[in-house]
C-alpha cells in the first residue's frame, strides 16, 4: 500500500515529515517497506525563462540561449528544437546530478561556446511525459520555483498491510492509527450526503446473498467525462496508478483514500432496468476490463444486466468491457456494494485475477462504507464532471457489525506487563474507533471496520501497540531449576552424538532437500503417490525422499564434476515412509567416493572396511546392544537393490531386525544418478536401534580386572568359500562365551595348498582364565570345543 505525505495530511493534522511518519508507522505495527523521496533528486532543479535563443555560431542544430535563472542570467547551449525566447522550462546548474543522464554537469565548451548549465527535458529529470524537447511549462511560473513544487513531487511511503487490517488499505485508516499513536490530529473530512433529484431508474436484485449481501446504487445523469485534473492525475501517478478518466479515477482515488472500492457503469450500455448480483453459471464467461475473458462458476459473484441474462462484471473483482465508461459517457450507474471476503479471495485464486478491488474485498471491506462511499463518490463526480444524481437505492443488508464484549482493563497489565491506567486504555481504544463503556464492568464494541477484534486479547494488543512496546518491562523467566534428566529426548541425544562422532571420523555433514524426484524415490524403495508434492518447486523435487542416499550420491557427483571427487559426506535427517505423523524416520547416512591421492606407503586399508569400521564404531557409540550381526546372505537376507549385490551387507539385531545396510552402491543405480562408481555408504535408521535399557543406577559395578594372564591360541581353518568369515568367528566365539574374549582374523588365504572352492581362515583366539590359570587339559578341552563349533560350519583345521 502506497500513499504520499500530502495525501496523509488530508486526513492527519501533523508536522511530521516522511521519516517521522514512517518511524511512527513502524512502531505502531505498520511495516514500512520503503520511503521514496523524489524531492531529493529534484532539489537542484528550478524554473527558468529563456530570454533569447540564437543559432550557435558553429553548429546548425544548437542554440545559444540567454536564460533568466535562480542564479541570475546564464548563457546556456541547448540542442532542443523547442528552445525559444519566452519559453519557461527547468534549469540545472553546473554541479547538478542529472538522474536521467546519470551525469554531473561540468562547465565545458560546446563547440566553442561555454554552457553555464543545462535546460532539461522530462526524461532527463526522470519525470513522465513527452521528451521531444525541453520542458514547456506554464508561462506564469516564477523563475526559481523548485522543480519539486512544479511537479508536485513528494515523498511516497510504501508499507506492508497485514491481512488482519484491511482498514489500512485506506489512507484514512492509516491516519486514524497514527493519530491514536500521537502523531497528530485525525481530520478526515466528513462525508456529506448528496440529495437525489429523482428516483433511481435502475433497480438492484441480489440473488446470491452469500456472495453479495448488500449493494447500493445510484444514477448520475449528464456528466462530462474526460481527463482528470492535474492534482488527481498526480496523486494517482505518485502511487503508481495510471489515470484513466475522471469517473474511473474517482473510484480509484476512493479505493485508496477510504479503502472503499466502487464501480461506475456507463448507463447507456446497460441493458434492461435492473442490475443483478448472482452466482455465475457453469460455462458462462465474463469479458473483463483487463481485456481477458474469465470463466464464471456458481461460487463466483457475477454482476449481470438484461434481467440477469448478460454478465457484465465480476463482482468485487473487475468490471466488464461492455459497460465501461469512456469520454463519451454522459449517464452513469454508480455501484457501492459489499462482497464476501472468502468468496472474493477464492475467485482471485480460481481465476488468477487480482485488482485493487479484489485485494480489498478479499481482506474485508468495511461494510459501514457502502452508503458513505457512494455519497463521497457522488460528491466528487459532481465536482469534477457535473451532472444530476438520483436517489440512492440499497438492496440487501450489510453483514452484522462486530458484537460488543466485556473487557477487564486490568488484563492489559496481566498479559503484557505494561503499566497502563484504565483511563489510558479507554483513551487508546476510543481513538481507534472502539466504543468503550467504562464502569465496574467494561463493555467494548469494535467499529465496523475492525472485524479482527473479537475479544479481550485483541484489545490488549491495540493498547500495547499504541502505548508502545518500548515500554515493555524486561522480566526474567522464573527459574524452574535444571531438569535432572537432560532436555533432549534419547533420540535427539543420539542424533547429536552421531553427528559429532561422524565429524570426528572424517565425514563432512551436509544438509540436503527432503525432496527428490519420484523416479529416484522409486529407485530407493519409495515414491508412493501419497508422498508426491502436488506443487513442487521444481520437477526433480516432487517427492518426499525415502532415503538420504540418492541426495548424497548426487552431491558427491556434483563435487566430482567440480574436480573434487574424493568426498565423505554424511547427513542425519528425515526420511519418509508414509504421510502419517509416524511415517517419518531419522536416517544416519554416509556416502563415500573414495578417490584418495596415492600415498608413498602404499594403498592403506580397503575403504569399504574402513567404512565398516566407522559404522561399527558409530553403533558402539550409540549404545548398540551386544549381538549386532553383520549378515551377508544374498539368498535369504538380501540387501536392497541399490546396493552392490556382492559387496553389501545388513547389520541386524537377531535374525530379522534390520538396523543398517552398508556396502558399495550398485553401479547401475549410480549411473542413473549420473555418478561414477565406486561409491560406498551406509544408511542407519536411528529408530530401529533399540535404546539402551535404562539402568536403575548409574553405578557401573566392579571392573573384574583379572590377575590371571590371558593367553592366545592360533587356529587355521579350511572352510568352503561361501561360508562368511563372520559366521566362523561367531561360531568360535560361541564355543565358550565366558572365556573366549576375542577372536581376531589374521589371515584369509585361497590358493596353493587349499582346495579350490575353499579358503583358509586363520584366527587368533584370546582366552581369559576366570578362576585359575588354565591347565593343559583345560586348554585342550577348550580347543576341542572350538573345533567342534567350527566343524558345524564344515570347517576343518588346516593340515
Amino acid at each position: 500500500m502506497k500513499f504520499t505525505l500530502s495525501w496523509l495530511k488530508d486526513h492527519l493534522d501533523t508536522t511530521a515529515d516522511a521519516r517521522g511518519v514512517a518511524e511512527a508507522m513502524t512502531m505502531a505495527g505498520l511495516e514500512v517497506e520503503e520511503v521514496t523521496d523524489p524531492t531529493a533528486a529534484l532539489a537542484p532543479f528550478t524554473v527558468a525563462r529563456i530570454v533569447s535563443a540564437e543559432r550557435h555560431p558553429n553548429a546548425d542544430r544548437l542554440q545559444v540561449c540567454q536564460v533568466e535563472t535562480v542564479d541570475g542570467p546564464k548563457e546556456i547551449v541547448c540542442g532542443a528544437p523547442n528552445a525559444r525566447a519566452g519559453l519557461v522550462t527547468i534549469y540545472a546548474p553546473i554541479g547538478a546530478w542529472v538522474p536521467g543522464l546519470g551525469v554531473t554537469l561540468v562547465e565545458k565548451p560546446v563547440r566553442g561556446v561555454v554552457s553555464n548549465g543545462m535546460l532539461c527535458s522530462a526524461a532527463e529529470l526522470e519525470l513522465p511525459g513527452d521528451s521531444d524537447g525541453i520542458l514547456d511549462l506554464p508561462a506564469d511560473l516564477a523563475v526559481g520555483t523548485p522543480a519539486a513544487e512544479v511537479f508536485g513531487a513528494e515523498p511516497v511511503i510504501d508499507f506492508e498491510v497485514t491481512p488482519n487490517r484491511p482498514d489500512w488499505l485506506g489512507v484514512d485508516g492509516i491516519a486514524r492509527d497514527l493519530a491514536a499513536a500521537g502523531l497528530g490530529r485525525l481530520k478526515t473530512p466528513a462525508i456529506v450526503p448528496v440529495a437525489g433529484r429523482f428516483a433511481c431508474p435502475v433497480s438492484i436484485r441480489l440473488e446470491a446473498p452469500g456472495l453479495c449481501p448488500v449493494f447500493a446504487g445510484r444514477v448520475i445523469r449528464g456528466v462530462t467525462n474526460g481527463p482528470s485534473p492535474e492534482w488527481l492525475q498526480r496523486r494517482l501517478a505518485a502511487i503508481g496508478l495510471r489515470s484513466i478518466n475522471r469517473l474511473v479515477d474517482v473510484t480509484n482515488l476512493i479505493a485508496y483514500d477510504r479503502a472503499r472500492p466502487l464501480h461506475v457503469y456507463d448507463l447507456a450500455s446497460l441493458k434492461g432496468g435492473a442490475v443483478v448480483a448472482r452466482g455465475g453459471t457453469d460455462g458462462e464467461t465474463v469479458a473483463a476490463l483487463d481485456g481477458k475473458t474469465y470463466a464464471a462458476a456458481p461460487d463466483i459473484c457475477v454482476i449481470a444486466d438484461d434481467d440477469g441474462g448478460r454478465a457484465i462484471g465480476l463482482g468485487g473483482v473487475m468490471g466488464g468491457e461492455t459497460t465501461g465508461c469512456s469520454d463519451a459517457t454522459t449517464d452513469v450507474f454508480l455501484e457501492s456494494a459489499w462482497f464476501d471476503p472468502l468468496a472474493t479471495a477464492q475467485t482471485g485464486r480460481t481465476l488468477g485475477i487480482s485488482s485493487d478491488a479484489q485485494y480489498r474485498f478479499a481482506r474485508r471491506v468495511d461494510p459501514g462504507t457502502v452508503v458513505p462511499g457512494i455519497e463521497l463518490a457522488t460528491r466528487m463526480i459532481l465536482d469534477l464532471c457535473g451532472g444530476e444524481p438520483s436517489e440512492v437505492v440499497v438492496a440487501g443488508e450489510a453483514p452484522a457489525a462486530p458484537t460488543a464484549f466485556a473487557f477487564d482493563p486490568a488484563r492489559v497489565g496481566r498479559l503484557t506487563g505494561l503499566d497502563v491506567s484504565p483511563e489510558r486504555t479507554a483513551e487508546v481504544l476510543t481513538a481507534l474507533g472502539f466504543a468503550v463503556e467504562t464502569g465496574d464492568r467494561w463493555t467494548v464494541t469494535p467499529p465496523s471496520w475492525r472485524a479482527d477484534a473479537h475479544g479481550p486479547a485483541d484489545l490488549i494488543e491495540e493498547v500495547a501497540r499504541i502505548v508502545g512496546y518500548d515500554a515493555l518491562p524486561s522480566t526474567p523467566l522464573p527459574d524452574l531449576g535444571a531438569p535432572s534428566a537432560g532436555l533432549l529426548s534419547p533420540l535427539q541425544a543420539r542424533a547429536r552424538r552421531a553427528r559429532r562422532a561422524l565429524a570426528a571420523l572424517g565425514y563432512a555433514e551436509a544438509v540436503t532437500w527432503s525432496f527428490t524426484s519420484q523416479d529416484i524415490a522409486r529407485a530407493f524403495g519409495g515414491g508412493d503417490d501419497r508422498l508426491r508434492v502436488e506443487n513442487p518447486i521444481a520437477q526433480g523435487l516432487d517427492c518426499m525422499r525415502p532415503s538420504i542416499l540418492p541426495n548424497l550420491i548426487q552431491a558427491a557427483a556434483r563435487n566430482a564434476d567440480r574436480g573434487h571427487p574424493d568426498v565423505a559426506l554424511f547427513e542425519i535427517g528425515p526420511v519418509y515412509r508414509d504421510d502419517s505423523p509416524t511415517g517419518q524416520r531419522t536416517a544416519i547416512t554416509v556416502v563415500v567416493a573414495p578417490h584418495a591421492a596415492r600415498h608413498w606407503s602404499g594403498a592403506g586399508e580397503d575403504p569399504l572396511f574402513q567404512l565398516k569400521g566407522d559404522l561399527m564404531r558409530l553403533l558402539t557409540l550409540l549404545g548398540a546392544p551386544a549381538g549386532l550381526q553383520t549378515v551377508q546372505d544374498p539368498e535369504r537376507a538380501p540387501t536392497d537393490g541399490w546396493w552392490h549385490p556382492g559387496r553389501s551387507a545388513r547389520v541386524q539385531l537377531g535374525p530379522k531386525a534390520l538396523i543398517a545396510q552398508f556396502g558399495a552402491l550398485h553401479p547401475a543405480t549410480l549411473k542413473t544418478l549420473d555418478a561414477e562408481s565406486p561409491m560406498l555408504g551406509f544408511e542407519l535408521i536411528l529408530e530401529a536401534l533399540p535404546e539402551p535399557r535404562g539402568a536403575k543406577t548409574k553405578s557401573r559395578g566392579p571392573a573384574n580386572l583379572s590377575t590371571l594372564m590371558p593367553l592366545s591360541r592360533d587356529f587355521a581353518f579350511v572352510v568352503e568359500d561361501r561360508i562368511p568369515a563372520g559366521d566362523l568367528v561367531r561360531a568360535v566365539q560361541g564355543a565358550d562365551k565366558a572365556r573366549i574374549t576375542e577372536v581376531a582374523v589374521f589371515d584369509v588365504y585361497r590358493g596353493k595348498g587349499v582346495e579350490p572352492g575353499f579358503k583358509s581362515v586363520a584366527l587368533e583366539v584370546t582366552l581369559q582364565p576366570d578362576q585359575a590359570t588354565l591347565t593343559e587339559a583345560e586348554i585342550e578341552a577348550l580347543s576341542a570345543k572350538i573345533l567342534a563349533a567350527a566343524q558345524k560350519l564344515g570347517a576343518a583345521l588346516r593340515a
Partner: protein, 358 residues
C-alpha cells in the same frame, strides 16, 4: 711383582682395545674364566705361606677387581656403540607426509541449532519435535488461521497429493508451530519448550530456499507476560551473538497465532559485508514472537483465563549466516565439500556453558 704389573697392563690394554662383545668375552674367559690367568693366580694363593698370602692375596684380588671393572666398563661402551650404530641404521625420513585423514565437519546450521539448544536448555527449555508432513489442522487451523484466510496464502505452502480415499491434502509444515500444538495438546502447563526442525515454503530466490530450518519456542504458565518474552529473547540474542547486551526493539506485527504479536529487530551496521551489532542506525528483523492467542490455547484444551504465555520463532539458517558471515543461503544445501569444510565446525566444538558457544 713385575709379572702382576705386566699382566694387569696387558689385560687392561687388551680390554680397552677389544672390538666387539665376543672379543671382550674371550678376554674375560682368558683372565677370569676357570682356566684364566687371574683365576690361576688366585688358585696359587692356597700353596703360599701365610705371610706370602697376606701380601699377595690383596694384590691378586685387587688385580681381579680392576680387570673385572675394566671388562664391565668396556662392555657398556661397546653396547652403547652398538646401539648407536643400530639406531643410525634405523633412520626414517620423517619429512615424508603421513597418510592424510579426511577432516570431517558439522554443518553450520546444525552447529547453530546446537548453540540454540544449549542456550535455551540453560533457561530451562526442553526440546520437542514433530513430523515434517502435517495436516491442515496442526499447521493452520489450530494456529488460528481461519480456513481460506489470506494469511494462509502468505505461507506459500507445499501440498502433498490428496489422499485417494479421504481426499485429505497433507502439507509440508510451513513452520514448526505444529509442534507447539502437539505439545500443548499432549501435556499440561507449565510448558517450556523449543521446537527445532525442517520447514518448507514454496519459495526460491537469493534469500529463500524451499526448505529451511526454524527454532520456535513456547512458554505457558499462569503469569507469563510479554515482559518475560522480552527478557527471554533479549537474553537469548545477546548470548547467541556472544555480546554483553543487545540493542533491540520490539515492533508490533501480526501473526494469526499470537496476540499481541511483535517482531524483534536488532541494531546493526552491515556495511562492508560484516555484521557489527549494536552499531549503526539500521534495524534488522531477526525473529517473530508474541503472546499465544487465546483461540490457540482453547483449541489445545488450555483455559486462556487460567494460563497464558508466549511463543517465538526464528530462522536457523539465517541466524547462522548472520553470526558466521555466510554470504549466501543456497550453498547451505548444496553439499559442496569445499563449502562444508570452510563454513563447517569441528566435531569437538560442541557448544557448552563452560567452554562457550563458539
Amino acid at each position: 711383582m713385575t709379572d702382576l704389573n705386566q699382566l694387569e697392563l696387558d689385560l687392561i690394554n687388551a680390554i680397552g682395545s677389544a672390538e666387539g662383545v665376543q672379543a671382550l668375552e674371550d678376554l674375560r674367559v682368558s683372565a677370569l674364566g676357570k682356566a684364566g690367568s687371574i683365576s690361576g693366580l688366585l688358585k696359587g694363593l692356597g700353596a703360599m705361606s701365610p705371610d706370602e698370602r697376606r701380601t699377595e692375596g690383596p694384590r691378586i684380588n685387587g688385580l681381579r677387581d680392576r680387570v673385572a671393572a675394566a671388562l664391565a666398563a668396556r662392555k657398556a661402551e661397546l653396547a652403547a656403540a652398538e646401539l648407536e650404530a643400530r639406531l643410525k641404521s634405523e633412520h626414517l625420513d620423517l619429512t615424508l607426509p603421513p597418510r592424510p585423514a579426511r577432516s570431517g565437519s558439522v554443518h553450520a546450521t546444525l552447529q547453530v541449532m546446537d548453540e540454540m539448544v544449549a542456550l535455551f536448555a540453560d533457561m530451562g527449555f526442553s526440546v520437542a519435535e514433530g513430523p515434517d508432513i502435517e495436516d491442515d489442522f496442526h499447521n493452520f487451523t489450530a494456529l488460528n488461521f481461519p480456513p481460506k484466510h489470506p494469511a494462509r496464502e502468505m505461507h506459500d505452502t507445499f501440498f502433498l497429493r490428496p489422499d485417494p480415499e479421504t481426499g485429505e491434502r497433507k502439507v509440508l509444515r510451513t513452520h514448526t508451530s505444529p509442534v507447539q500444538i502437539r505439545t500443548m495438546m499432549s501435556t499440561t502447563p507449565p510448558i517450556r519448550i523449543i521446537a527445532p526442525g525442517r520447514t518448507f515454503r514454496k519459495d526460491s530466490d537469493a534469500t529463500h530456499t524451499p526448505m529451511f530450518h526454524q527454532v520456535e519456542g513456547l512458554v505457558i504458565d499462569r503469569d507469563i507476560h510479554m515482559g518475560h518474552l522480552k527478557w527471554t529473547l533479549e537474553t537469548f540474542v545477546a548470548r547467541f551473538f556472544e555480546v554483553e547486551g543487545i540493542d533491540a526493539r520490539f515492533r508490533p506485527h501480526h501473526f494469526p497465532f499470537t496476540e499481541p504479536s511483535a517482531e524483534m529487530d536488532i541494531r546493526c551496521d552491515r556495511s562492508g559485508g560484516v555484521l557489527k551489532l549494536n552499531e549503526g542506525d539500521s534495524w534488522m528483523e531477526i525473529l517473530g514472537c508474541g503472546m499465544v492467542h487465546p483461540n490457540v490455547l482453547r483449541t489445545c484444551g488450555i483455559d486462556p483465563d487460567e494460563y497464558q504465555g508466549f511463543a517465538f520463532g526464528m530462522g536457523v539458517d539465517r541466524l547462522a549466516m548472520l553470526k558466521y558471515g555466510i554470504p549466501d543461503l543456497r550453498p547451505m544445501f548444496e553439499a559442496d565439500s569445499r563449502w562444508l569444510s570452510h563454513y563447517g565446525f569441528s566435531a569437538f566444538s560442541a557448544p557448552s556453558p563452560a567452554a562457550g558457544l563458539s
